[in-house]
Every structure is written in C-alpha cells, then in structure tokens.
Symmetry: C2
C-alpha cells in the first residue's frame, strides 16, 4: 500500500500538511492566505462534528440562533478589555459600493458584541432567564503567524454558546454543564483532553476567568480546541443586560460562553491519522463501513447481491455504509478508503459466500477477521465500538506519557509535551519559566490542586501547579 | 382568538411586518439596518427549508462545499459584465487591525468569483466533468432600497449551486435538472411559481441567459425566489476553466448556477399566513403536530398518558410532534401554536378518551373533527397531506386569478398581479410598457410560446409574450 511521503513520526507538521490534501479535506490554494476552501469530504466531516455538538445543545436546552456577521464599531467598543484584546485582530469594512460608511463595521472575531446589545432587549425579567443560545458560524481573525489548515486560519468555522443567568452561582452551574458537554463530546471523538484554568494575564478579553480545552498533538505541542468563559457581569454592565428580580429589584445578568472551532478537525486528523491517511472515529465518520465486492468473472451477481443486502441491513441499523462498485482493483479501493479514514472495511468474495462469511478489516490497526454473515451486524457494531475505544486509549496513552509533574526547571528542560511545575501564583515567575523552557503557560488544573513544594523561581511556597507546553 | 392588529387583506405589507415579529422569526432591532437576527424559531424554519434543498442536492449528485467569504478585488474583476453589475453593491474590507490591506477584499454578493479561480485548478480533464457543487452561506449586498425581513436584506442566507460541463448541451441538461428540482421543491413548500426568461438587459451580470423563479404575493407584487443561469463559457474564458477533451484537445467549460435565498421564507410567511399568524406547510414545519392535553382535576394522568403515547407513535412514524404541558389554559396554547403556524393540533380530554377518540384541528381552515384513537396515525397523515394540497391549491388560485393575458396596454392598466402582453422583442418597447404600467418586465414564458398578435407599442408582429408586474 502506498504511504505518505513524509512519515508522521519523522516530521509531524509536514505529514499533517500532506494528509490534509491527500484526504481531500480542504484546498489551500485560495488566493487569500489562511482562508481555505472546504472540499466536500472535509465539509462533511465538519458537519458531522457539528451534528454531535447540536445533539448536545438539544439535550441541554440551548436554542440555535444566527446573528449578523458585521458589528458596528460602537457596539464593539463598549467593553474596554475586549477591544484591547481584539482591536488589532479584526477586519474592517469601511466602504459599501463607492461610498464610505458613516461608521465602520468589523467582521466578528466572536459574537459577544453582536449579541449583547440584542440580549439587553430580549431580557426583561427573571422569567426570561436562563437564556441559553448558540450559533455555528464563520468568524474572522487577522492572523499574522504562519497559517495551518484547521489549526490557524483567518476564516474560522466556529461554535459559540452564549448564556445569561440570574447570578454568579447559576452561571457557575452553566460552566459545570459545559464541562460535562465537553466530556461527552470529546469521548465520542476519541479525543482525551485536559481542562486548564488560564492565568489571569492570558484569559479571554473581558472574562472573569477562562478554562481552556487542550489536547496534545503527536508533535508534543498542545492544541486548544475550545474554551469556557465565566464573564460574571463584566459584559452585562456596559451592555446593560439587566432584569427585574422576583422582588421587583433591578439586577445585572451573569454570563458565560463556550466556544469551539474547526480545530477539532485538526485534532482528529493529527491525533488519529497515520501514514496511510486519516483514521476517523466511527461516531463522526461520514461513511462508517465501506463494502468492497471481490469479483471474479462469472460470479459477480451473488457477490454484488450480498454487498447490497449488507448495506441495506446496516442502513436499517443506523450504520452509514457504502458499496464501492467502481471498476478498479480492490487494492485501489482499499487505498482510497484508507486515505479517507473509513473505520471499517468489509470484503465479500465468492469464497466468503460459500462459507457464509464476510471479512472485516479495521482501519486503525489493520486487523482482519472473518465473521458469519448471520451475525454480521452485531460483529460490525462491536468492531466499531472497539475502534472508538482503541483510538481513545491510544490518544490517552500519548497524553499520559507526555504529561510530567516535576519540581525543578532542570528536570523539566528535556521533557516532551506538557510539564507541571510548582507555582507561587505570580505572573513574573510563570513568565520566567516560560522563557527558560521556551514554552507557554497553559494554565493550572481546574481541581484547585494544592502543591506542597516551592516555586522553582522565587522559592516561595507554591499555591498550585502550573502547566507549560509548546502550543499551536 | 386574538388576531393581528393589521388585517392581511387591508394592508399586506404592514401585516407581513407584524407577523414576522409576532411569530418570533427574526429581530430587526440589530444596530445595522437590513441585517437581522435569526431567532430560534425562524432559524429552525430556514434550516428545514435548507434540509429539503440538501435532499434535492443528494439525489441529483451535487457535492456540498464551502468557499471563503472574502474575495480579492483582482479575482472579482476578471469578468467585465460581472463587475459592472455588482460593483456598486458590494462591501469592501480595506483594513486588518490597524493596517491597510495591500489589496482590498469584498464580501461575496454571490460566489462565482471566489469559486472559479479554484475550479480552474480542480478541472483538468473531461473525466472531472460534470463538476456539480453547491453551498449554503451568508452573502452580502449593499441594498439602498427599503429593507424588509427575508425579502430585502443586506446579509442574505443563500443557496448557490455551481456546475461545470463539457459543452453547452450538457449545461442545458443541467438547467433542465434545475427546473425539475424547483418543481419538486416548491411543491413540497406548497408554493406555485412561474419561470420567467429574463430579458437580455435584465439578466444576471455575466450570464448568457437567466431564468427567474417568481411567486405572486397576496399584495399583487411578484417576489423572485431564485434563478437559474446559463453562463455558456462567459466565465470559463476569463477564469481559464478548461479541460482536455477525450481526443486530447483543449476546451472551455460551460457553466450554470442555481441560486435561491431566504426569500423562500418570506414567501411561506406571506402567501400561506393569515390573521392568526403563520401557516406552515407540513413538510417544512419544525413541529407538525402539537398535542394539547385538556385536563380536569383528578383526570390528569390518563390524559397525559394518552398524549405521550400519541407523541411517541407519531415520532416513530416520522412525524414531528410535541406535547404542550405548560400550566396555562388550552386557549392560550392554541393561540401560541396558531401564531407559529403548526399545521395540525390534536386535543385530548377525558371525554375523548371515553369515546376512544382524539380531536384534530387543521391550522389552515380551522376544521375540527374527531377520529378514532386506533386509526389516529393514519388520520393525521391524511390530514397533513390534505393541508399541503390545500395550501398549494389556494396559492395556485391566487396566482391564476392574477395572471392576465391581454392584447392592449389599455386592458392591462387596471389589472392586479401579472400581465402578459404581445412583445416584438425590443428593449425600447418593453421599457415603454414598463413606464406606462408602472411595472417591471418579468420576462417571457420559457416554453418559447408564439404570439400571433402585434406589439402594442410599435405595432410590429410580436415574437412572444412578455410579462410585467410590480415586484419586491
């Protein structure tokens, strides 16, 4: 079987770039750098991820909305920290036709400043709360660093949930729900992750605190897939999002947001893929089972018939399958579907039919076995489940083996991946460690873990552990 | 039952504005005029329409893609007529952060000029053809006329299919398929329409010819819901979309596009709605059947049980239903669901249960009847089907009664709706008629109908009929 030119273990970044093109996920030749074309297969995958997110939104009672892309400068500028954080990263629309606009508009980098002036109209009384909304839209950031498909782009496919609550406590309950959503979602995607409470100097512009969702890529760098923000009433005050309480008083809402982006696709590609191509977790694969007829002259009919029957039975069981009837060799078909990461391949030939069997081949480990036709659906379901679990297990192993808790900077220096060091709680000491280790501060564990050691920089007693990693 | 403040028959445009807000479809108070917020119910409806479109795309083998929103000025300017047609209608991004862009970018008003430079990379040989793609995205037009929800907006929810073919003949086959798609789709939406071949001076900028899909609104104005364009090789030449033929020669592609927008929702609201609110065709209603328990003290349990059972059975039959258990009066519930246009209401009370019956009430004509519980699914399916047909029939009646074929301008003057007059084929005569009738030229029938009369302006023999109407 042909493999990628660059091996994943040799040069992860080059391998990633190759696989993204080979699997037909996107086209990077669009004339604006960092704005890529979603090709049909990539867009399908993204849509399947979105579908899993939407299912979570339904069970947690979030309503889908869709706000305008363009934001007037005056709406954007109401929250001071927010404009400081985003001001240099936004695209400005200044003209319509040949006319200069009276007020310039920006392309949303995220939608707080589009939504909150309208939320202030929607929310009148405590009976309107909690307000739980989300949208899946295109957002824009003026990236100056090197772009990379799905990981660092300038037009971003983005999920953002925005909620309003009666008080801080209820907003905290939302954060808890968001964490549960992340746990369920990323298990379906076979992506183990860690929550990191970002340090104060690196939280979202305007937030009270920020929790990031980070995965470890095989390159040893972490990739932030999403974040959950507690805003308190930081936005509610400037945007006047207030309500009448049960006893007739006036109070500001407390707000949260939960954002995730197309980086999820980047993680699926980078973490599960191998030198043959993508490996898609069954719950997100557009085709879960591909059926290949092994045809010899004169024996086409019963084989094709058996393939068609199996496909029908799989469909009825809610498993997305496809019979590849193209007139090319089975080997070429194997190659095509391996590149695309279809989790399970079924081969059916005359000999299998004689034995009333089918052959199933796992994409993740290449294991091949014959199972009885009579129990094919059961066997296929079991194998798909095994693949999900095995992908998760392998990714968890990668994460665990590359997370190191040490006490000194010296110990941390040669370690790959994420290191945890005692932290006194000051920005200065963390930045000093960043500099020495040439890594970024990821954040502290969200469990409020105590640390009995001393800060390796100032020697004062550590308040907690702090994580450092090279990041995308 | 409360009704709209403005009656549909008294002032259609005011009634339309009222109903859009009453049914919670969108919020027009966003600080940029003509850019509205999709509220959850409106967005759900739009998504259901999109779903019907996607089903058509699957059966006709179109692949969904997603191209960048921003288009470099240089890509936009390759086709001369196109820039002339759109140049004054686009929004320009000129700055990123504090920096002026080297080349300015526009927000897509439609995606020809985003897609075609990339198509020229995708298409190499006749084996790559036909290329059939589509996307559902946000597009932007700088509207200077008065905006109106779904009908004239500045950020437009837009469907656009783009296809490339070996020659004109194959592109013509695509146009035929597009017409079939429109026929199937708009029948599901209970929206009768007419195809109009736009006159040369009013075709899409860059097209060889344009066919519009127009419906008649109850105000007597037509609303264009979509269009199908034959481009010939008009874009393929400047964008260099060419391929190697089977005998090794070099040829340009012939292209078509098919566009439709959120105006479909405007038509659904305007044509089917009444003074109680929306009336949604069953195939697009987010909730098709709402079940209202009629509860008396002490008899709650069996009634709620029966409601739940029916809801479950409907779900299993693929009918989207909802039990309204809120603690408000049945009358208030009726009102809420009537405003939202749920096609069928089921009422279940203790007396109905005694008779082993349920009561079903049609939203479109208010007809109420009791049916046996044992055949409830069958009865409900039949009623939903009747509603679809009845909505179509009523809309068809409106259209037929307001389409008039006459021979003189004098006869046309007092007629409401669409008038057809003999046409000699010149722009001058059509514009003269436009002026006198204060209507716009819609286009000629696509069936190449002969007309044996004379042009009412110049008196020369007419080549065909031309349609005129006031338009949105």
């Amino acid at each position: 079987m042909p493999e990628t030119k660059v091996k994943k273990s040799d040069d992860f970044n080059e391998w990633y770039n190759e696989i993204v093109e080979l699997a037909d996920l996107c086209d990077k030749r669009y004339p604006i750098k960092g704005m890529n074309v979603w090709k049909p297969y990539g867009w399908k995958l993204m849509n399947h991820v979105d579908q899993l997110i939407r299912e979570e939104m339904v069970i947690t009672d979030h309503q889908e909305v869709n706000f305008p892309l363009l934001i007037p400068e005056s709406s954007f500028k109401k929250e001071e920290e927010h404009i400081e954080g985003f001001g240099s990263e936004v695209y400005w629309v200044t003209h319509a036709g040949l006319n200069k606009l009276e007020e310039k508009w920006l392309l949303r980098p995220t939608s707080e400043t589009a939504m909150y002036p309208v939320f202030s109209l929607w929310i009148r009384s405590h009976a309107d709360l909690p307000l739980k909304t989300y949208q899946i839209v295109n957002t824009f950031r003026y990236e100056t660093k090197q772009t990379r498909a799905f990981i660092r782009v300038r037009e971003i496919h983005f999920f953002e949930a925005h909620t309003c609550h009666v008080d801080f406590k209820d907003a905290e309950r939302q954060i808890k729900e968001d964490k549960e959503i992340a746990n369920r979602l990323f298990e379906k995607l076979s992506l183990p992750f860690i929550f990191n409470k970002r340090p104060d100097w690196d939280k979202f512009a305007g937030a009270f605190y920020t929790i990031s969702i980070d995965v470890l890529m095989p390159s040893g760098r972490t990739l932030q897939l999403g974040s959950v923000h507690q805003y308190k009433d930081n936005f509610a005050k400037p945007y006047e999002i207030s309500y009448e309480t049960e006893d007739g008083k006036h109070a500001y809402c407390h707000q949260t947001t939960y954002g995730m982006s197309e980086r999820i696709l980047g993680a699926l590609v980078g973490i599960h893929g191998d030198n043959k191509g993508l490996v898609m977790p069954p719950k997100v694969a557009p085709i879960q089972v591909v059926i290949i007829p092994i045809i010899f002259k004169g024996k086409e009919k019963p084989v094709l018939e058996a393939c068609k029957n199996l496909c029908k039975k799989l469909d009825e069981s809610g498993i997305k399958s496809h019979v590849d009837k193209r007139e090319i060799t089975p080997g070429n078909k194997y190659y095509d579907w391996e590149v695309k990461g279809v989790p399970l391949r079924v081969e059916i030939g005359p000999k299998d039919l004689e034995k009333k069997e089918i052959v199933i081949v796992r994409r993740d480990d290449g294991n091949k076995k014959s199972v009885l036709q009579s129990s094919s659906i059961k066997s296929i379901k079991e194998e798909l489940d095994k693949i999900s679990k095995s992908l998760f297990k392998n990714a968890k192993k990668l994460l665990d083996e590359n997370m190191h808790r040490v006490q000194t900077i010296e110990e941390a220096k040669d370690l790959k991946g994420i290191v945890e060091l005692p932290w006194c709680g000051t920005e200065d000491c963390a930045l000093e460690i960043e500099n020495i280790l040439e890594r970024n501060t990821l954040g502290e564990p969200i469990e409020n873990e105590k640390c009995k050691y001393s800060c390796p920089v100032c020697g004062k007693p550590a308040k907690t552990w702090m994580r450092y990693a090279k990041t995308y």
